[in-house]
């Protein structure tokens, strides 16, 4: 079963992306979607599939995969099933930095500014979390610092909204904060893709060290792990993919905690082997959530981030309350 996990999830991802192309305000038949994907069909179908639904589905997948991957890697690094970019305040910090770039109109001068701002925010927050993590063995302290960081980033965003020059930019910022992959184009994806790819490569090349950290930091060092290098790589990798995800979709929480939690028993609780399945599962979850957002008959389309938090926060509480009291 363990061997089939990754192929199954990869297949599920493909099915979910095709399903996302089928469903929507005007449902398309499978034959028309497949024809449009292959470059045939009529121009209208091609626009719906290639310009609207496919980039949106791929964005949802990439954002989910990025958050699932960084969640799994951070959980391995911090040896804590509650670690996740959202919980630790990394997403909020990235979001705040991105909002800042939006607010000051830096984005209009160069489209690369947005992902870079989000990534700088994410890396800075991850580094701060790590700085605390190295000095304390207490999981509670770590989560509390994450809460504080989230609140601080939230307060800075509120400040920016407070100072918003006009209602339009205010509404822009609020839309951004809620988190969504609506109206994303392939260009948006392309701006974030390099950061996601590089971050993911860094995390995958350092994954063996995450297994070693199962033994605790001192013993991990004892079996040959270079702790400092491992920390830097994971912080950088997780910061890059989280920042890129936030740049693409705003802050979307809790996927990064749920996917690794579901995957872990299937991979013998090995953080290294949980990376790829966690990324795939989180990607599938976000595509499904986004399909739900689109087909739900509401006057205003629900934001993906709102739905993710509505489902994810109770799941987080459930995981936290079931966690066995480990020897901290």
């Amino acid at each position: 079963m363990t061997r089939l996990l990754t192929p199954t999830l990869a297949l599920a991802a493909v099915v979910a992306i095709i399903a996302a192309c089928l469903l929507g305000s005007t449902p398309l038949e499978l034959s028309r979607v497949l024809a449009a994907l292959a470059g045939g069909a009529d121009a209208g179908d091609r626009i719906v599939v290639w310009s609207i639904r496919l980039p949106r589905a791929l964005s949802a997948f990439c954002v989910g995969a990025a958050l699932g991957l960084s969640g799994a890697a951070l959980q391995g690094l911090l040896r804590n099933p509650l670690a996740e970019p959202g919980v630790l305040g990394v997403s909020a910090s990235a979001s705040m930095a991105a909002t800042f770039a939006l607010y000051y109109g830096l984005v209009t001068s160069n489209p690369w500014i947005l992902p870079i701002a989000a990534i700088v925010g994410a890396v800075a927050a991850t580094a701060l979390i790590l700085f605390v993590a190295v000095r304390t063995t207490s999981v509670v302290t770590l989560i509390l610092v994450g809460v504080g960081l989230s609140s601080f980033a939230g307060a800075l965003m509120s400040l920016l909204m407070n100072l918003a020059p006009n209602p339009f930019s205010l509404s822009d910022m609020i839309n951004w904060m809620l988190g969504s992959v609506a109206n994303r184009s392939f260009d948006d994806l392309l701006f974030c893709a390099p950061f996601m790819v590089v971050g993911a490569l860094i995390l995958f090349t350092s994954r063996r060290g995450l297994s070693a950290l199962t033994l605790g930091e001192e013993a991990a060092s004892g079996i040959g792990l270079n702790l400092r290098r491992q920390r830097v790589l994971v912080v950088l990798g997780a910061g890059l993919v989280t920042g890129a995800a936030v740049a693409l979709a705003g802050a979307i929480g809790f996927v990064g905690i749920i996917a690794p939690h579901v995957v872990r028993p299937w991979v013998n609780h090995d953080p290294a082997r949980s990376l790829l399945p966690s990324a795939l599962l989180a990607g599938v979850l976000l595509i499904i959530a986004d399909i739900g957002v689109r087909v739900m008959p509401t006057d205003n389309e629900l934001k993906l981030g709102v739905v993710a938090a509505l489902v994810g926060a109770p799941a987080f509480i459930w995981i936290a309350s079931r966690r066995r009291a480990l020897v901290d």
């Binding site: 070693a212 199962t214 033994l215 004892g222 079996i223």
Partner: protein
């Protein structure tokens, strides 16, 4: 022959001298016990000698190379280290924990080479863990867990074993089982440096005892030479009578 050697090693933290001018050596073919009361600096001495923590003076070498500049990977290939605190973050199967001992050989969990598989199997058998190999570590008793950690250390196939209080909190039978594992490891050509709190156990199993007190190495010699009532009073502050390798502790001084 592989040797861990320290020359005038000093460790000072925040103005407190934890290890003061300690010189010792431990090489393959011998089982050395490191004894001393809580706070004597035993754990710090091990970490400093292995280059895991920075030192304030002196030198430490492992197979001739300065441990302060040794990469963790090379160090792990020469000496297995079992720290005092051994928290396991996840309820991994025993076999995976043992397989982590192959980290310094480039092994990745789930795709072990034939040589890795062989070393892991041998270590599991040596520690009598065959029946528990697929069990989650969260379901093991303290004694079973201690054996799993030893199997992990043996799987590395490093010539030296450095263990910090490996038998703490174990019942007498498990204490002897673990010490017999270490004894067998030494008989097969390994060398071991083990921190113990049970003086009788050290006298029974060790070739040599290093007595530490207050950051200093008091004396280094065979149990027969160094285990005396005066030493027990000096190092541990207890009154004791010694009959050959038997120790009766009457009370605190």
């Amino acid at each position: 022959m592989t040797e861990l050697a320290a020359q005038s090693l000093r460790v000072v933290r925040d103005g407190t001298t934890l290890v003061d001018d300690v010189s010792f050596a431990c090489q393959t073919g011998e089982l050395v016990a490191l004894l001393g009361p809580n706070g004597a600096g035993k754990s710090t001495l091990l970490r400093a000698a292995l280059g895991i923590v920075p030192i304030s003076g002196g030198t430490a070498t492992l197979a001739g190379d300065d441990t302060q500049h040794l990469s963790p990977m090379v160090r792990a290939q020469r000496a297995s280290y079992l720290p005092q605190r051994r928290p396991l973050a996840w309820p991994s199967p025993v076999r995976d924990v043992v397989a982590l001992g192959r980290f310094s050989h480039g092994a990745a969990l789930g795709r072990l080479s034939a040589a890795d598989q062989h070393a892991v199997d041998a270590a599991i058998s040596a520690c009598d863990l065959d029946a528990l190999a697929q069990r989650g570590t969260d379901t093991l008793s303290g004694g079973e867990l201690a054996r799993a950690h030893f199997a992990r250390a043996f799987a590395a196939q490093a010539p030296l074993l450095i263990a910090d209080e490996p038998v703490a909190a174990l019942d007498p039978r498990h204490q002897h089982r673990i010490m017999q594992l270490v004894r067998d490891f030494v008989a097969n050509g390994g060398g071991a440096l083990v921190v113990l709190h049970d003086v009788a156990l050290a006298a029974r199993f060790a070739d040599r005892i290093l007595w530490m007190h207050d950051g200093r190495l008091i004396v280094d010699g065979t149990p027969a030479e160094t285990l005396t009532a005066e030493r027990m009073a000096q190092v541990y502050g207890v009154s004791a009578t010694i009959e050959e390798d038997r120790v009766h502790i009457k009370g605190a001084l």
